[in-house]
């Protein structure tokens, strides 16, 4: 079963490059690029080109439609909301400003940011430590214990949230950042991912470090971790995004309004959709904007993170 999947990575025939890229254990996807080698073959011309552009444009229109209408509503003053949902006629930033303050979204964004950061950092730390142990160290029962760790991936979050809430409550951590983050400080997914990447590190590196008298921690800090930086970046983004988007857990754990995260804040806003729909949409825009920007900036890492488990079998 352990057939490693060797894919010709996009655009590279060079074996050194291949090795370097394979070290991060994930495919790189060029969202903006072109398949270099077969330009002629894949490049439609003439009518087919126009047709392809047309089709793409039509699909874009459909995919973007909900975002488009949301933006329009968020920028319209209250009395014009039903006039022309498809055409932006009036334009004002007042609604967004109102959602920001009255909807308390500034507070919620900060809360989400803090929780997501805590979870991301801790997931990275615990995953690196555990993955290192599984990949580099040798001890009896290693495979079995790894299997047990991975088995936790099978437990859906919904099944355990009620009990987790009680645990957090008895620790006195309701309405705190600790309470919001502690169940997610370690994840078998991160351990799995990093272990795979650590396994690709050449043994010679380890032996060289041993000869130099560098202990495990030193090796980890100075050699192993820097080498797997791309995967760490991917995992970080994946964790951040996952925590930012959590909906059920904050709803369970928060009873003080000020500690709400952005997603549970949206739920509060939803109650007003019938009498102030543009306010709700403005809140949605505010909630979604940070992640859209993050996606643009960290495009490469995001894609790497999402594809990490996919292409390899």
């Amino acid at each position: 079963m352990a057939t490693d999947l060797t894919l010709p990575i996009d655009g590279a025939d060079d074996p050194d490059e291949l090795g370097a890229r394979a070290a991060d254990g994930a495919a790189t996807v060029d969202l903006g690029g072109r398949p270099e080698r077969s330009r002629g073959f894949d490049e439609p011309t003439g009518l087919r080109r126009v047709g392809r552009y047309g089709l793409l444009a039509a699909v874009v229109a459909i995919v973007v439609f909900p975002i488009y209408t949301t933006l329009i509503a968020a920028l319209k003053p209250g009395d014009k909301v039903f006039d022309n949902p498809l055409v932006p006629d009036a334009f004002t930033l007042d609604v967004i400003r109102a959602a920001w303050t009255a909807g308390n979204l500034d507070r919620y964004l900060i809360n989400s940011l803090i929780v997501a950061t805590i979870v991301t950092v801790c997931q990275l730390v615990t995953s690196v430590l555990a993955a290192y142990a599984f990949a580099i160290l040798r001890f009896p029962g290693r495979t079995l214990i790894f299997f047990l760790f991975t088995a936790t991936l099978l437990v859906p979050a919904e099944a355990i949230m009620v009990v987790n809430r009680d645990t957090v409550d008895s620790l006195g951590w309701l309405n705190t950042f600790q309470g919001l983050s502690v169940p997610f400080l370690a994840t078998a997914f991160g351990i799995f991912l990093l272990r795979q990447v650590f396994l690709t590190l050449p043994r010679d590196l380890l032996d060289a470090a041993a000869i130099d008298g560098v202990g495990h921690f030193g090796f980890m800090r100075h050699v192993a971790v820097p080498l797997v930086r791309p995967t760490l970046g991917a995992l970080a983004l994946f964790s951040f995004l996952g925590t930012w988007n959590q909906y059920l857990w904050p709803n369970l754990v928060i009873t003080e309004q000020d500690m709400n995260t952005v997603q549970s804040g949206l739920r509060i806003l939803q109650a007003s959709i019938a009498n102030e729909p543009n306010l709700v949409m403005a809140g949605t825009v505010i909630a979604a904007l940070p992640i859209f920007i993050a996606l643009l900036v960290f495009q490469r890492q995001l894609v790497r993170g999402l594809t990490a488990g996919a292409v390899k079998g």
């Binding site: 079963m1 352990a2 209250g78 039903f82 495979t143 009873t255 003080e256 309004q257 009498n275």
Partner: protein, 522 residues
């Protein structure tokens, strides 16, 4: 001799086998259980779900005209009342000895302008004295507040919490709250100006558990312009069911609106609460044991001829095109929006009086082009019988126990402020809630509000003129929320055209099972 290491392939192999076997097991389980047992999940673990309870009231008998007569109780009217002291002390003096302001938390479930009014009141309280500081926490909705309360440990619970009226029994029996009556008696608080109805509404087994705070009841909202266009008098809205039907007929015939009456089947509106209110107006019992007020209810009675008549009436109006249903109204405003619909509007709808402020301000903000706040008429709830009347609805304030003397005293101090005459006057004027005490009506700002905009006075008048009787207080049922949901399901089916008697009987059976399950476990 070193043993050969189990290769990765073997581990993978055993993982595969494990998965295969699990898959087969799950499939087998699915096949085995595929035939649904047909039983409700709630009856699991019940020995005999339909238990023979100590029936305190004989089944109602019907007279010739078809309406039921409330029979005389076969048990003494008041149950054996446990001494008040058993439920916790209210050390009202403790606040005097406190050094420094005592901080307490208050959970509520209001939104929009109702929340704003509550924030204003709380800020006023905090600013007016320095012994208590109140931290207001919005739990988004009543249901959310209830859930959070139940799930929290006692430490995580607030000092004061607002619960809706349909949770009386379950929280009275929870053992986690101190009856407000303990504080009233300990401090000698004068409840004479209070509306008796309001205080009685929150009395369970002889003890006053909660302080009524935001009292509401259903009222009729209607479009005055449509009434005029249909030749109806906009100052004389329909009061009886016959008038309701006649008005709807006139409206539809004249073409002033597409439908006369907009109904919904939400659990806390058309599918549950309004039905309870109609039974009250008809003088009929909704649940046994005197609507659960004489002794804890053991079963519901709404599948009798009254219930069938009422819902058949509504179903008939829908079938005749005079009324339209907007579904379960999960957003809370679907019925109102149907009245404001530009294409196929309705003319009237029954809604809670608590929504008055929201309706007026939303229309005043220009939400619906062509419709202003002045175009909305508010009248008493139409229903069975000739006289108007309604039961107390809305929410109340509860004091959470085991919080320490100072915090308990602080909670009581805050509650006193919220139900003072001035506060209730402000509150009612800002929101459309009914003031819980009659002396608030003569104080500003409510006096002016009632004088200038009599629409705000409708729910108040409706409450005062209600006929006294066994059904004048709303039903108290242990699992009342769940019972309302079961009833709402039946009402939704009825609005879709299902047979009324069967649907009601099914809902009643489900409700009785819920009640039995609750009584067994609590």
């Amino acid at each position: 001799m070193t043993p050969t290491r189990r290769s990765r392939v073997d581990v993978a192999q055993s993982v595969r086998t494990l998965f295969t076997r699990t898959a087969v097991l799950v499939l087998a389980g699915v096949v085995a259980g595929a035939c649904s047992s047909g039983e409700s999940i709630l009856t699991i673990g019940q020995e005999d779900a339909v238990s023979t309870t100590t029936a305190a009231v004989a089944p109602p008998s019907t007279d010739a005209s078809g309406s039921t007569i409330a029979p005389t109780s076969t048990v003494a009217p008041t149950t054996t009342q446990a001494p008040l002291a058993e439920f916790g002390d209210c050390p009202v003096e403790a606040l005097d000895g406190a050094d420094g302001p005592v901080g307490i938390t208050f959970w509520h479930g209001l939104g929009n302008d109702l929340e704003n009014a509550l924030i204003a009141l709380t800020d006023e309280y905090n600013a007016s004295q320095d012994r208590v500081v109140v931290d207001l926490q919005n739990q988004t909705s009543y249901d959310s507040a209830i859930d959070k309360y139940i799930q929290s440990s006692q430490d995580g619970r607030p000092n004061v919490i607002q619960f809706p009226e349909y949770t009386l029994q379950s929280f009275a029996q929870s053992g986690t709250l101190i009856p407000v009556e303990a504080c009233i008696q300990a401090s000698g608080y004068d409840t004479a100006p209070f509306l008796d109805r309001a205080l009685d509404a929150y009395t369970f087994e002889g003890i006053g558990w909660a302080m009524p705070f935001n009292v509401s009841n259903p009222v009729l909202y209607y479009n005055r312009k449509v009434f005029e266009a249909a030749g109806l008098d906009p100052d004389d809205p329909p009061i009886t069911l016959e008038e309701l039907r006649a008005a709807s007929q006139a409206i539809v015939d004249s073409g002033a609106a597409t439908y006369g009456w907009v109904v919904d089947s939400g659990a806390n509106s058309g599918g549950g609460w309004f039905l309870e209110q109609w039974f009250g107006r008809a003088g009929e019992l909704y649940a046994d044991n005197g609507n659960g007020r004489v002794a804890p209810a053991t079963r519901v009675l709404y599948d009798d001829s009254t219930g069938v008549e009422l819902l058949t009436f509504v179903q008939q109006m829908i079938a005749d095109g005079l009324a339209v249903s907007v579904g379960d109204n999960s957003g809370g405003t679907d019925a109102f929006l149907k009245v404001a619909d530009p294409v196929a509007p309705g003319a009237m709808t029954i809604g809670t009086s608590a929504a008055m402020g929201l309706v007026f301000s939303a229309l005043g903000g220009g939400l619906i082009p062509g419709l202003t706040a002045e175009d909305v008429g508010v009248g008493p709830m139409p229903g069975p019988g000739e006289e108007i009347g309604a039961q107390v609805g809305g929410g109340s304030l509860w004091i959470v126990g085991e919080k320490g003397d100072e915090e308990t005293a602080a909670a009581w101090d805050f509650i006193q402020f919220l139900v003072s005459a001035e506060s209730q006057s402000e509150w009612a004027a800002a929101t459309g809630y009914v003031p819980v005490r009659s002396d608030s009506v003569d104080i500003e700002p409510l006096a002016s509000t009632y004088a200038t905009d009599p629409r705000y006075k409708v729910p108040y008048d409706q409450l005062l003129t209600s006929v006294e009787g066994e059904a004048s207080l709303s039903p108290v049922i242990g699992p009342q929320r769940e019972v309302r949901v079961a009833t709402a399901n039946a009402v939704a089916a009825i609005f879709d055209g299902a047979d009324v008697a069967t649907s009601l009987a099914d809902a009643a059976a489900q409700s009785n099972a819920l009640i039995a399950s609750y009584n067994q476990r609590n």
